[in-house]
Symmetry: C2
Subunit: 537 residues, 2 copies
Amino acid sequence: MAETRLAAHFNREGFPVCDHHTYVIAGDGCLQEGVASEACSLAGTLRLSKLTLLYDANNIQIEGSTDLAFREDVAKRFQAYDWNVIDVPDGNSVPMISDALRKSRNSDRPTLIIVHTKIGFGCPKKQGSASAHGAPLGEDNLKEPRRTLGYEYPEDFFVPAEVYTEMDKVKSRGNHAEAAWKELMGKYREEYPELAVEWDAWHNAPDFFKVLDDDALFRFDAGSMATRSAGGQSLNRLFAILPNLFGGSADLAPSNNSDIKESPWYDRDNRDAVNIHFGVREHAMAGISNGIALHGGLHAYCATFFVFSDYMKGAMRLSALMKLPVTYILTHDSIGVGEDGPTHEPVEHLAALRALPDMTVIRPADAVETACAYLHAFRAKNPTAIVLTRQNLPVMDRDIAKNALKGGYILSDSKKKKPDVILIASGSEVNVALSAQRLLREQDIDARVVSMPSFELFDAQDEAYRDSVLPSNVRARVAVEALSSFGWHKYIGLDGACVCLDHFGESAPADYLFKKFGFTPEHVCEVAIGVAHKNRK
Amino acid sequence: MAETRLAAHFNREGFPVCDHHTYVIAGDGCLQEGVASEACSLAGTLRLSKLTLLYDANNIQIEGSTDLAFREDVAKRFQAYDWNVIDVPDGNSVPMISDALRKSRNSDRPTLIIVHTKIGFGCPKKQGSASAHGAPLGEDNLKEPRRTLGYEYPEDFFVPAEVYTEMDKVKSRGNHAEAAWKELMGKYREEYPELAVEWDAWHNAPDFFKVLDDDALFRFDAGSMATRSAGGQSLNRLFAILPNLFGGSADLAPSNNSDIKESPWYDRDNRDAVNIHFGVREHAMAGISNGIALHGGLHAYCATFFVFSDYMKGAMRLSALMKLPVTYILTHDSIGVGEDGPTHEPVEHLAALRALPDMTVIRPADAVETACAYLHAFRAKNPTAIVLTRQNLPVMDRDIAKNALKGGYILSDSKKKKPDVILIASGSEVNVALSAQRLLREQDIDARVVSMPSFELFDAQDEAYRDSVLPSNVRARVAVEALSSFGWHKYIGLDGACVCLDHFGESAPADYLFKKFGFTPEHVCEVAIGVAHKNRK
């Protein structure tokens, strides 16, 4: 997909500056995983003709023959996806495989090459058996295959001279291809100087603050708006300086506000477009986004309901493990979803993503904090998960809320230097905390309100800053967040309290649920008084 | 699958005491999700002929026509899975649907009935459009469909008398069917008294401690064993009193130790068996386990590597949301996996599952604690995730380690009544904490070691017990666990410290990694000294 987009945008007659095939090597197990079905169905729909999947069909998996669990007709399944299917009956025949690869390059559809192989080939005791899958063959069982395969070197881990000679040819082929591409690119720069400038821009991150002023990034005129709407607006604003955005939603674009209004939709007939219809396929969506980020030249993002992040967690983990700058837009972030009920109301999901190394999680409290989240995400080298509301939230003071880039900051301070209690909140609960602060004042309790959109960004600040926000001598602390309390004790310790949601939600209007589950200024005030008194003793 | 198992075990000539069909209603989006591909491929392999999937094919999803993202030939795909496929061209024709259902009941394979429908049927302004999917039709747009469909009642939410009459017929049909089944069951009890006793046993939980003695549950003679091995042994011991176990692994049975040695494998030709080959399909495996638990009469369990729990998180959440007693066996629980590297080394997974409401997570420290975990899981009404090591761990004192059922307990106490520091650990790190306690003694620091296999079980104890294990006046606390520290501050607060793993693992032998990342008695000792000194001030 990345290749087709860049090719459509940059290639000109005689100048195929982006022009390559993509090869996948997969086994029986891979084709049993649901994510493979999702991705291959979409590849067929999108006619990704330069995609070739080599399927090592050896009929063996860890528990035994694939017949035990996998009797489907794989060729027919891929034909159903509208793929070109080629069968290679003998996986040890290099000419047969070469021939299949040659044919795949001329296909107008993606190609599945079914390569029939024998696991443990050449080792009579192991060939075709599950024991050749997960365990080493062992010293004795290595002798026979060496004989069968005519491998005459007695040493272990030995690379004979002929291999070096052959590999040198491969290197030389690669060097020539690179030199030829560089020459082509040089001529392209002369012939199409404007496109060349664009090419460079797409392959290097812009300096955001140089090209966008404060108003363009952080100005929101509405008094109140859902952070998902502010997110849509931020994404579209960033598109002005990031024309190489490439992403979409798992069939929820109108709800996620994840499409770029000025761009058409990417499909088999129009490759030069930002917006992708991923279909109802979260896992493949995240996997594809990783692929786009790995390819380069494009800014990958994808969107779905926060609760559905479960379906793509495996691929989100790979974003983090590979440190890929994929942006995850996750809307409908709490019981604020309302009537859709507990299946659609995230509870544990914030904790799950916050616990994932190298993933920055941001749950903004208003439009300005949302703009900060997008700014962070598209400048970051690691993946970012932006967690957004369905419901409206008041827009805060721009100059204060921009501190969201620090992860946590004093939004409204106590009158005294040392507050009686600190209320720490994120997202839709920040405003509840602000109202609770007012109620507490009426009871002569002087509270500080800290907005904490991102644990990771806050933890990355220096100790002096962190201690200025959460002084170690103020132990009366209350966390307010309409999701699991799990993880919050890092900030509230053993002496604080949580107003959180440690059970599943329910199906009812959002306002009703917030009230029922205690996310009201009155309840937060009550808990805060308890904590303040306990810590005064 | 549950129906075939019970039928094969209990039905006798003229006595079909378990005999029903299973119907699924799905839409375009459902068939795009990977989990559907996984489940349907397995259903074909297993020839589940009494399974019928009614596919509401209306060609519309939220972003527009299904052509945008889903052009596959669904009939052909299901034929590839070896399903019987029936097409119903007009989804408004009751006779056509009835006819298709009748045909499906005689099939020797699972049946897909593709029912072609029009979304928003009868409403000219909405029919066949995406706007009929996610939003209400609205007052005005309701008038036309009422006219088209000949619905003459003007009231909203009105149930006319004819509907009651028709529904009464359905109720009566149901009552007759129930009475007939009860009569059949009565005769069955006379004809097959032994099977009837077994039937009752399968449908009611046994009193474990009455039927199994302490030795049978908790005796392990080895000095050291992997908790996955102890898990396999516990599962096989429980099979003696739970012959209605039904489960398996996503192609990792030999590694997960999840098969019942005395039982054959469940397949299309042998339905009366415990062990299921799920194939490399984690998400479907967990979904199927939920289905088995919902069916009743069977104890569902499933197994895979802990890191792969990501792929089935969505279905694990449903186990919890529906409070289904599914047991998840999750082995290879940390960097102890070793050479497979960071893709196979869980880090954030314990936190993610601990944050999930109504899921009990247990990470036992040895064989005895593992037996406790299995005992808890198969007696519980909620789902349990049991997290087990690949590597060997010393077997602890039986009478002490049985306290694991309390979630957390004093494994080795300080000499003084008030310890200088408390080391809290789970799983493979408990032994590291015990060694650190010895080192600390040499430095005149008197530590208590708490084994904490389960946060949920510990939190469920009364406050007096919890305070006896973790006294509120001892703030010098160190958590030791080779996974994310996220969530541990609930027990260590702001004054404690974590020896945890807040980054991804690496590929190397387990011993090397434990040393490199600080899971050594020496490092724990060092951290504990720091914490003890800080809290003494």
